[in-house]
Subunit: 106 residues, 2 copies
């Protein structure tokens, strides 16, 4: 059973978070988590990209402190670190939530 590393929120910097959210796919992932407000398995987020790329994007978000991942059997359940994010970067998630945008595949 795989374990994941999640950085403590105080180590997360603004540029790092911005970097993570600078990709439309990753914004789409965060939005999905925001609007459905539950844990999701990676493959449940609708994206037209390969498994490998998908895994990579979740990696980036995790290292940026934005999501939390946990193995459950053969799946890996992902949730937003919502409370912590709201405390450290107030308003950030709201930006992602309300912004009208499009999800392309790159």
């Amino acid at each position: 059973m795989k374990t994941y590393h999640h950085p403590p929120m105080e180590d997360v910097t603004l540029p790092a978070v911005m970097q993570a959210l600078a990709d439309p796919c990753r914004v789409a992932i965060v939005r999905e988590l925001l609007t459905r407000d539950v844990s999701l398995a990676c493959h449940e987020v609708p994206l037209e990209i390969s498994k490998a790329t998908r895994s990579h994007h979740f990696d980036v978000l995790r290292q940026a402190g934005i999501i939390h991942t946990q193995s459950e059997g053969t799946k890996c359940m992902t949730s937003l670190r919502k409370k912590e994010l709201d405390q450290r970067f107030p308003g950030l998630l709201k930006l992602v939530e309300t912004e009208p945008h499009q999800c392309s595949k790159s």
Copy 2:
């Protein structure tokens, strides 16, 4: 006298803005403009980078719709597109303002 192109705010996307703010130097520039609340010439922002790189960063911020630049004699005065940004991405500038961070040169 050089003129600059400034994208209309409705064309600015969240990933693009995030991308622009994903660099510590550029965050530092925006912060400087925020806290001093005036137009500044490029060279007045304290950064340990070359002229060329500085020009590049201002370019990126301008294309991302974050700053406005105007020639004045031999200088170019730069200001934040504060009102527009606050309307399109409420809370964004506040994030930049309040986040404790460090400006390294890369």
